[in-house]
Amino acid sequence: MLKYIKLFVALFAVIPVLLLTGCETNMVVFEPQGPVARSIMELINWSLMWMLLVVVVVFAMFGFIVWKYRERKENMNYEPPEEHGNTLFEIIWTAIPILIVIALIIPTVKTLYALEEVPEGYENEEPLTVHVTAADWKWIFSYPEQGIETVNYVNIPEDRPVNFKLTSAGTMQSFWVPALAGQKYAMAKMETQLILVAENPGSYVGKNSNFNGRGYTGMEFEVLAQTQQDFNQWIADVKNTAPVLTEEKYEEMLKPTHLGRLTFKNTHLAWVNHADEDAQTYTNPELYRYNGYQGKTFEEEDNYMNENSETESGDHHHEENHDDHGNHGGDDHGQH
């Protein structure tokens, strides 16, 4: 039995050590590249300290009590006393957690409010506004001031606040750049906002963290922070060389596919902003028929196809998509 207990204690002793070393390894959340992500990391570190304290206290008490009062040959005659409780102890272990909660909630609230504002020290910089439209399964970035649009990558100037206005053309996504900031949901017909600053030029991974169907994995984008000069140069280049985004091309783009990088010298905001409550709906259920038994779908009045085409609706999907029914579960991203 002794052997068991030793193993037991050893096993659980490893855990806080693992937790501790967590702060020193190269995890992206602990290597922030801007003030927003840094303020979250500081909050996390503050909480880790307290939580470690809790873990150490509970584990120590646990180890001590189990060790000391375990049944042994010598104490088989020992009959434990009847104890109902102890008011003093109970007050102590109610009060201490309350104090810890207070210690944690104050910085939490402060950070929550701060995250909605331009970070401290950057108030005087004019923020760059970028509209983000998430679609299955790509990220579309529109720069209204510069009048350009990119897909699956976004270039931003360093040391300047960027105000991402998030929306979705369909499913719900979560816009996350762990090195620079936390995440926010992007939802259709509404707008959320995420502000961040990149302190250094560099390339950072951004991704969707909210599951949104078959092509969810790999719905990533690159955030490239550049010097203001490089950024201006890039804008100028795009204006000169990039193609024009047409409405047809845009509708094609919204279909459920994985795309590479694209760049355009105008933005789709000219004809639709999916954040508007009464924007047209760009859904197309027929393109999602790839698993199992197919149910019926419904015509929607506010669908974009109602106006500009008479052939798109109806029942012809079935012939069209029949062939890919057989590969239920087949990983055929982008075949549509």
């Binding site: 979250i40 996390i44 509970v58 909630i105 409010y113 499913t171 199992g292």
Partner: protein, 659 residues
């Protein structure tokens, strides 16, 4: 129905699924053949399918839960295998999506809940000194509706297609706009049917615990498990109707084209998220609280000490229940509700740590000055404390709204809730099984195998889920079927996959332990093998169907312990025996199970006319039941006397029978 698309009806083309189909067919044939060969049809109908005995219903819940654990566990292992290496090709993305969806739903609704409800069924009436629950036939109906829902959900992966929008089934993804296959109808309809059963269980247990307590069993003398069952039933009654409504709206959207949660025509995806979590968070406590109750019983018994701070435990339980209703927004801090709302919900969520902490310290102090016997049941309770502490502190970290912007939807979260659900529920049901097994079956589970089960499962569990915290902090998102080699995630994913194999080995030992113990364990054990404290041990093992020949009288907390100490109420005289009135068996709940299953199946496939016709059966069943005047039967005195003298006069038995 004229145009059934047979080519889409059965899921084909995947060797894994084909294998599953074949094995399901073979198992079913095997069971049918076995029953026929052993001439057990009558027996299974009379003794099990039509039973209204709370103990047998409890055992059926537990068997179903173990089977569902198996199914959900295979899902878990498949996911771990798929992510063990970068760019693995074992599962496609669609298949992975289906698997984590069914894993989550099955583990929570068809494993954790029935497991605990099963133990509640077996134990609660005994603990309060009652002969059955308040509404025995309703109890059977609860079970059969749960079973109907569970089976309907499980056939989805061979017929029609598995739900694939996550256990949270977020809209608009789960709506027809993005999921036109009928697969997600299974989610809405199967959970609806099972949910009705759960709601009735909640009502049944509230009434049972409030009305059926034996003489002297005041509320503040009730065992902790009974208290937690009462509070859990309260949460069920408060929270399940929300889910019922949400699922109904989901069905309207999917089957009839309404716009509650759609993108088009003014639906709101956030409405679903709110309704879902208004139920979903309390749901976590529906399973956690009874588990806390089990640990309280086990820790007190094996420390040979009364539960420390009983009163504060009761208040803490009620406090957790109340708080659990006002924290749901912590599941979507990132939805942009603003810092004010997020601050409020950060605070309420963190406050749950206070009553939970009270519980942890009370358990520790129950053991202090005790004599801790490291039986298998107790080992699970012990391991629970440190592992659940990790689940708890990471929960507080997630509760901090601003920090959650980095943890949300990552494997950090997945690790956290497994650290809560596995110690908090799975360890508890294991502890409960080792502890109450002799009560249910009259023999113990093997302690040596129990230790193997414990160590393998525990080590496996920690190795599987500890790495996920770090993966999450390094940016690994949840529900992703693969990752690139450059991401740097590979080593920890591999470690985690190795852990899951150890975990599975532990579960296998558990199954073997059941088999071994049924075959070989010693049947000659006393009715109170653990020297326990509460009333379920104040009668035979296995318990005779009327539970108590004479209802025990309670004079204090830990009633049975005091009875043994004062040598009171342990002896039964012939003169004290009276006829006992018991409810009759009924086949109706099972019939309802079949009818609900058929209606549900038609609805899943959107065949409305057959569904309408079949649902007439439900109405007929209700009418039939209203005119059912069978009010049970009486057990004659001689039969009771005979049963009682048999078990009471065995050697080493603390109970006595005198003629």
């Amino acid at each position: 129905m004229g145009n059934i698309k047979w080519d889409e009806f059965f899921i084909t083309g995947d060797p894994l699924i084909l294998g599953a189909q074949v094995s399901i067919a073979l198992t079913m044939l095997g069971v049918l053949f076995g029953l026929t060969y052993l001439k057990k049809w009558k027996w299974i109908w009379r003794e099990w399918i039509t039973t209204v005995d709370h103990k047998r219903i409890g055992i059926m819940y537990i068997i179903a839960a173990i089977l569902m654990f198996f199914r959900g566990g295979i899902d878990g292992l498949l996911m771990k295998a798929q992510t063990s290496r970068p760019e693995m090709g074992l599962l496609s993305s669609q298949h992975y999506n289906e698997i984590f969806t069914t894993h989550g739903v099955i583990m929570i609704l068809f494993m954790a809940m029935p497991f605990l409800i099963g133990l509640m069924n077996v134990v609660i009436p005994l603990q309060i000194g009652a002969r059955d629950v308040a509404f025995p036939q309703l109890n059977a109906l609860s079970f059969w509706l749960f079973f109907s829902g569970a089976m309907l959900f499980n056939i989805s992966f061979v017929i029609g297609g598995s739900p694939d929008a996550g256990w949270t089934s977020y809209f608009p993804l789960a709506g027809k706009e993005f999921s036109p296959s009928i697969a997600n109808n299974y989610y809405a309809i199967a959970l609806q049917i099972a949910g009705i059963g759960t709601l009735m269980t909640g009502i049944n247990f509230i009434v049972t615990i409030l009305k059926m307590r034996t003489k002297g069993m005041t509320l503040m003398r009730m065992p902790m498990f009974t208290w937690t069952a009462l509070v859990t039933s309260g949460i069920i009654v408060a929270a399940f109707p929300i889910f019922t409504v949400a699922l109904a709206l989901m069905k309207f959207d999917r089957l009839f084209g309404t716009h509650f949660f759609t993108v088009s025509s003014g639906g709101s995806d956030m409405l679903w998220a709110n309704l879902f979590w208004l139920w979903g968070h309390p749901e976590v406590y529906i399973v956690a609280l009874p588990a806390f109750g089990i640990f309280s019983e086990v820790i007190a018994t094996f420390s040979r000490k009364q539960l420390f701070g009983y009163k504060s435990m009761v208040y803490a339980t009620v406090g957790i229940a109340l708080l659990s209703m006002v924290v749901w927004v912590h599941h979507f801090y990132t939805m942009g509700s603003g810092p004010g709302v997020n601050s409020f919900f950060s605070l309420t969520t963190m406050l749950i740590a206070v009553p939970t902490g009270i519980k942890i310290f009370n358990w520790l102090f129950t053991m202090r000055k005790g004599r801790i016997k490291l039986s298998s049941a107790m080992l699970w309770a012990l391991a629970f404390i440190p592992t659940f502490t990790i689940g708890g502190v990471t929960g507080v970290m997630l509760a901090m709204g601003a920090a959650d912007f980095q943890y949300h939807n990552t494997l950090f979260l997945v690790a956290h809730f497994h650290y809560v659900l596995i110690p908090g529920v799975v360890f508890a049901v294991f502890a409960g099984l080792y502890y109450w097994w002799p009560k249910m079956f009259g023999h113990m589970l093997n302690e040596r195998l129990g230790k193997w089960h414990f160590w393998l499962f525990n080590i496996g569990f920690n190795v599987t889920f500890m790495p996920m915290f770090f993966l999450g902090l390094n940016g690994a998102v949840r529900r992703s079927y693969t990752y690139s080699a450059e991401s740097g995630f590979a080593p920890l994913f591999l470690l985690s996959a190795i852990g899951s194999v150890i975990l599975a080995a532990g579960f296998a030992v558990f199954c073997y332990n059941i088999y071994w113990s049924i075959r070989y364990a010693d049947r000659n054990i006393s009715s109170d093998p653990w020297d326990a404290r509460t009333l379920e041990w104040a009668t035979a093992s296995p318990v005779q169907h009327y539970n108590f020949a004479k209802l025990p009288e309670v004079k204090s907390f830990d009633a049975f312990w005091q009875m043994k100490k004062n040598n009171e109420g342990l002896t039964l005289k012939d003169s004290e025996i009276e006829e006992i009135h018991m409810p009759s068996n009924s086949g109706q709940p099972f019939m309802m199970c079949v009818i609900f299953g058929v209606v549900g199946f038609f609805l899943v496939f959107e065949w409305f006319i057959p569904a309408a016709i079949a649902s007439v059966g439900i109405i007929v069943g209700l009418i039939y039941r209203s005119f059912d005047y069978n009010d049970g039967y009486h057990i004659p005195v001689e039969e009771i006397s005979k049963t009682e003298s048999t078990w009471r006069n065995e050697k080493g038995e603390v109970h006595k029978h005198v003629g």
